[in-house]
């Protein structure tokens, strides 16, 4: 079965705190892709990152970093020194080959509130 679980429904932090958003996935695909999207209060869906299953290197982009661990089927997202502008709903998504190449499966999202 193809499934993405974001167990944290809502997280509240104070500005400058670090925060990690969890994403756990299940797939029977042999090659798969993981994605993170941000949905700010304005409502649009913004792509943040794509990770291939054969590339387990962690990635850092400014204050954002992603930790991909195949052994635990997790693709967690950390924001360092959070800012109010990081307040949004964050979605993790999954697609892959050969069984699910034409669909993207989304988690239920984690709402992040960053307070000044």
């Amino acid at each position: 079965a193809q499934k993405v679980t974001q167990a944290q429904t809502e997280i509240s932090v104070v500005e400058k705190e670090d925060v990690t958003l969890d994403c756990v996935y299940e797939t029977r695909d042999t090659t798969y892709y993981l994605f993170w999207y941000k949905q700010p209060p304005s409502g649009e869906l913004v792509f943040l990152i794509r990770r291939n299953s054969f590339d387990e290197q962690n990635e850092i982009s400014g204050r954002y970093s992603w930790n991909f661990q195949k052994s635990t089927s997790s693709f967690n997202f950390t924001i360092t020194a959070s800012q109010v502008v990081d307040s949004a709903v964050y979605f993790c998504a999954l697609s892959g080959y050969p069984y699910n190449f034409n669909k993207f499966y989304f988690g239920s999202g984690t709402k992040l509130n960053v307070k000044p």
Binding site: R50, F104, G109
Partner: protein, 115 residues
């Protein structure tokens, strides 16, 4: 490039009326999708298309129809609108092939209210 363009941005529909949500993309993506997002919830797939002339159902297709006559356009039709179809509708596209998946590119959404 405009990316994925959806129209209208907002619409109020009366129960039983019909309407078409428009979606067009200029990235030459082969795959297109329609999702709905109910308040405070995640995304549910309504329909998708793997190319012109080919469409398939997603998780929640009832009450909707789609067509894909060109690579660029993927309209979503609501027939006999019901209050349960009040939602935000997102169109998205992706390039999927031997080289892998591009990310989903989303339009800005259509906020639809059925009263």
């Amino acid at each position: 490039n405009a990316g994925v363009t959806q129209t209208p941005k907002f619409h109020i529909l009366k129960i039983g009326q019909s309407m078409t949500l428009q979606c067009t993309q200029d990235m030459n993506h082969n795959y297109m999708y329609w999702y709905r997002q109910d308040p405070g919830m995640g995304l549910k797939l309504i329909y998708y298309s793997v190319g012109a002339g080919i469409t398939d159902k997603g998780e929640v297709p009832n009450g909707y129809n789609v067509s894909r006559s060109t690579t660029e356009d993927f309209p979503l039709r609501l027939e006999l609108a019901a209050p349960s179809q009040t939602s935000v509708y997102f169109c998205a596209s992706s390039l999927i092939g031997q080289g892998g998946h591009s990310p989903l590119h989303f339009g800005n959404g259509t906020r639809l209210t059925v009263t």
